[in-house]
Symmetry: none
Subunit: 203 residues, 4 copies
DNA sequence: GATGAATGAGTGTTCATTCAT
DNA sequence: GATGAATGAACACTCATTCAT
């Protein structure tokens, strides 16, 4: 593989990723991608075989890196509070780059629910098991009120993801511009932590 | 306008609503809508001018009724806790019917952010003002921890909407079938109330 | 179905038939067909669903009428000589109109041999049985030399079809123009009969 | 020209010939040819300029060798019967290797009838002249019935070529498998000779 | 009001061909 | 000589839209 090839391959994927996940063009056509990348439409087929295969490639890769990120947070010996605090950081700081990824995932999952299973291997199970144990300890110690693992995780995901997911709607409703919304999102780290543990985020 | 005319108009809108918001066919074609409604494709143009105009009409109407619903909850003399409790009820019970509406809204808003402003008139301002006052009283009385009105509302919306919005993803992650997920959603009423007020939902 | 619809449907089929079987454009594109018929390319899909379905329709219909023609020749009480004489007439006179049909059939058959079976139902068996009996009588009576039914039929088909099938090649080899070749073909009726029965065609 | 160059040139032509005439892939793409030959697609253009030029080259060469073969049969002092017997042998035995050549020729000729003239030089005239004389002698001697040279040659070609040409169709109609059809073809040598001379093939 | 027929613009994809190396 | 990258033209097909009736 020459350098040029790698660059073009990567360029196409980058462009697709940007259109799909950043700009929210869920149905971005090959023409749109080619125009944005400044290449010929046929090259997409040369490198990826078909629009769908490019699509799957980009989705899979993004999912992998995301899953790895999450796993690396939870698969440590740290306390639950530290883990959650990191999770919030990652989701709010990093995922600003691809605000539509979650949205995208939901739309696609609605069409082909069996696809996620390929993208999310058994790691999920292990993560849940770890968090489950730590959560039980917190509840037993009376540090947080009773809650099931499922609702705990969904609360966490909801509080972190929703403001990203629904950004265009919320930005309009709350009457915030780009900058104000960014500020709002950074404030949310404390707010989410507080909503989860009912106490202030340390330091 | 004859009765038949009204009926066909309404039938088309109903069908479009179902396909768009219930089944998640964001890109439902005029043919698909016509087939589902059992009418001729050209009639959609006869009544609505174009696919996009039908789309906007349906979206606007759904938004209006939703806004009205929300307003009627908040524009009373009830306590904040009762209002929030009703809000949770409405969002979780009623909005199960159109699970993809939120998702849809977000996707469309991403394309044309200026559109929402037409759909959400100045009512928004009045609602916020009312809730704002009540929220300040709660905080002042030490009944809930300090939180801005924006974060309070976003938390509430996140905890209610996210499980609906992300249903396909969560259903897969949590390994729940249709029935189990419905059960999970109904449990959430208590969970959300608790997360917001840090106390159990009365009765 | 309106008159216009039938006309357009028929027009498309006619045009396709002409391009496929008469002009030998085995790979005629939908554009070519549409241009030749003076209609929009998309209409072909409107009426036939796809290029292949149009193709199959036209092929099947042409085959049916041909099979019927052959059957009506052999399924009588006439003598073998009369039947063969008619067969020669039909193949040479009528099939001049679609000189590439046979060729076409062969090319397509090479790709999908299972297709012919659908087009040629069990009629074939009955025809062969009838001819078989009559042929045996001729041989037993010493009227023609010993020959199997298979070779007899293949000889007949070869002598009739080949000059049509290979028209472009033969026309060039034999140095004949359109008119001369047509004359040559009409002479062949006697020649074929003679080659089969080793005696002159009556009257 | 280096040895390697010659080898690659020849390899490409061989591969094309096989795909075109043996496997019947009339529309074989440059990619298909390159893959089959194990070379780069661009090399076809390097050596032959374009797909069409490769095509023409291969067709021309195949035609030349075929014409030479025929000429060498007829340009001897042997009797007509021996010549015809050899002709039948060559066409039936040898041409089994390229069953689609004839078919191919016909299809291509239909598109560009002027092409054959370049491929079939004045040899044709000489061959016909020789056979013509011998045929007249046979007729004069009452050894065969009256027939023109054109019909005689066309009968001969028809009886030999048609079973090869129409192999896929005939195989289906006659219900023969590969092996049975091969057997059938070998029987045809006697059958054709008999149909031409109305007597058994010697030895 | 309602329909089938017809169209033009656009989609993903294929392919022969060219070009830089 | 040989290769991978890149392109333009064409293909079958889809779709919203228009039109005549």
């Amino acid at each position: 593989m020459s350098l040029g090839q790698l660059e073009t391959r990567e360029l196409i994927k980058e462009t697709a990723r940007r259109l799909f996940f950043q700009k929210g063009h869920v149905k971005a056509t090959t023409q749109e991608i080619a125009d944005e990348a400044g290449i010929n439409r046929a090259l997409i087929h040369y490198y990826f075989g078909s629009r769908d295969l490019l699509f799957e490639k980009v989705l899979a890769e993004t999912m992998w890196s995301r899953t790895d990120e999450i796993e690396s947070i939870f698969a440590t010996n740290d306390s639950l509070r530290i883990k959650i605090s990191r999770f919030i950081d990652v989701f709010i700081d990093n995922h600003i780059d691809f605000p539509y990824l979650e949205n995208f995932l939901i739309t696609e999952m609605a069409k082909a629910p069996e696809r996620l299973k390929q993208l999310q291997p058994d790691k999920r199970g292990r993560i849940t098991a770890i968090v489950y144990r730590q959560l039980e300890e917190e509840i037993a110690a009376g540090l947080i009120g009773y809650i099931t693992i499922e609702h705990f995780m969904v609360n966490l995901m909801a509080l972190c993801n929703y403001p990203l997911l629904a950004m265009p709607v919320l930005q309009t409703i709350l009457g915030m511009d780009e900058k104000a919304y960014r500020e709002f999102l950074s404030e949310r780290k404390k707010v989410v932590y507080r909503a989860i543990f009912n106490e202030d985020l340390p330091n």
